[in-house]
Amino acid sequence: MPCAETESRLHAYYDGELDALAAAGFEGHLESCAECCVALEELEAMRSALRTELPYERAPAALAERIAAALDREAAPAALTTLAARVGAARGPAPTFGRGLITGAGGGLLAAALAFFLIAPHVISPRETLLDDLVNAHVRSLLPAHLVDVESTDRHTVKPWFAGHVDVSPAVYDFTAQGYRLLGGRADYFEHQRAAALIYQHGAHLINVFSWAGEGAAPADTTRNGYHLAFWKAGNLHYCAVSDTGWPELLKLVSLIRDAEGQESHG
């Protein structure tokens, strides 16, 4: 059993909470401490069991509709009919969609979320526009039936599909074994081109990995509306991973993709 001081550092290291210097220091300690290595493996075993075994409930459609109605009353007692109410009415009660992943709950509300981006006055900075486009595309993908155009965990199915539907040819990998299951691909449109989106499931969270061609350096990582955006560039291809996972969890997927890509281009 590690001592209390080491134990709190162990958890902080495992949760990605140590700064680079402290993390390197702890990795040095790991090299000589078998107990901490075992403890780390146990933490990982429990985490992956929690993330795979626990049920992920979605807000029931009826509840989402009740909340939308209550918000309508609160916002404007007799005035605006919001898009949420209209979409909700058009969709009918509690629809179920066949994909298994998205069960329709909160769909009307998510649709409403898009209204803001559609009706908001246009932001001037191109970077701001890009960030809005990315978060917007991510939120839209969470709508029932909007997540994937081609549903497959097989990269050899997704990659050729991209060839016919988008303007870029991004790296496609499945990382189910590492806790990031490839669900499929989708075509999206931004930066004046047909961009590619890969969708991964990680525990309760969905991750979109967008890619598009473009000049310039990768923008800095940022967080917007509770969604993390991690950027990188490979050749002339821009990538951005968007999700409400934790930062370490999102960056782990980024490094998995970059490593796989690096191996492929060198091998």
Partner: protein
């Protein structure tokens, strides 16, 4: 869409609602999951979430660029604590929830052998094991491992210092690990 553009002006109630829908509503499912873990009952989770979303909307102007998810989760948690306090004041005994063994005896007095075996699996499920972990430990574990919040966010949600988050998380992991390895041993014994 062009009609909406004309109708919704900046600063109007409709614009505030649209901003709320864009920034807060995408986190509805996450907030619901958290409410389920806090209340351990679907009916209570519904009430808590509805109350929390209304409170969030009323307090939306206080958000000002801070962390949406942590902010919303803190409201959900406060609503849950308020509801618990109210129930206690009224001296109501809560109905047994789904995870409670009593629950099944109320609904289905004589489960068949098949149901009993499924029940047995559920009893040993991680979800069931988590029920035995103290609430203040369970919530940090859920926030970290399932919702993937960082320490700073968890501190904001649970309104304790980061040091307390860290010690609770370590204790929560130790407590769950102890129950989990007990399960693994039982499974090994059953195999023999």
């Amino acid at each position: 869409m062009s009609r909406s553009r004309e109708r919704v002006e900046r600063g109007s109630p409709g614009e505030r609602r649209a901003r709320f829908d864009a920034q807060v509503l995408p986190h509805l499912d996450a907030a619901y999951r958290f409410a389920r873990w806090l209340t351990r009952s679907p009916a209570d989770a519904d009430d808590v979430l509805q109350e929390a979303m209304l409170r969030a909307f009323r307090g939306f102007d206080d958000l000002r660029g801070s962390d949406v998810k942590a902010w919303l989760f803190a409201i959900v948690r406060n609503c849950h604590l308020t509801a618990v306090a109210q129930r206690e004041r009224r001296g109501l005994v809560p109905l047994p929830d789904e995870g409670d063994p009593q629950h099944d005896t109320l609904i289905c007095p004589a489960p068949g052998p098949e149901a009993a075996s499924i029940r047995g699996d559920e009893e040993r499920s991680l979800a069931r094991l988590l029920e035995d972990v103290a609430p203040e430990h369970r919530e940090v574990l859920i926030l970290r491992e399932i919702e993937e919040l960082d320490y700073r966010q968890i501190a904001a949600v649970t309104q304790v210092p980061i040091g307390t988050v860290m010690s609770r998380l370590a204790r929560a992991r130790a407590a769950l690990k102890a129950r989990w390895s007990m399960r693994s041993e039982e499974e090994r014994d059953a195999m023999r």
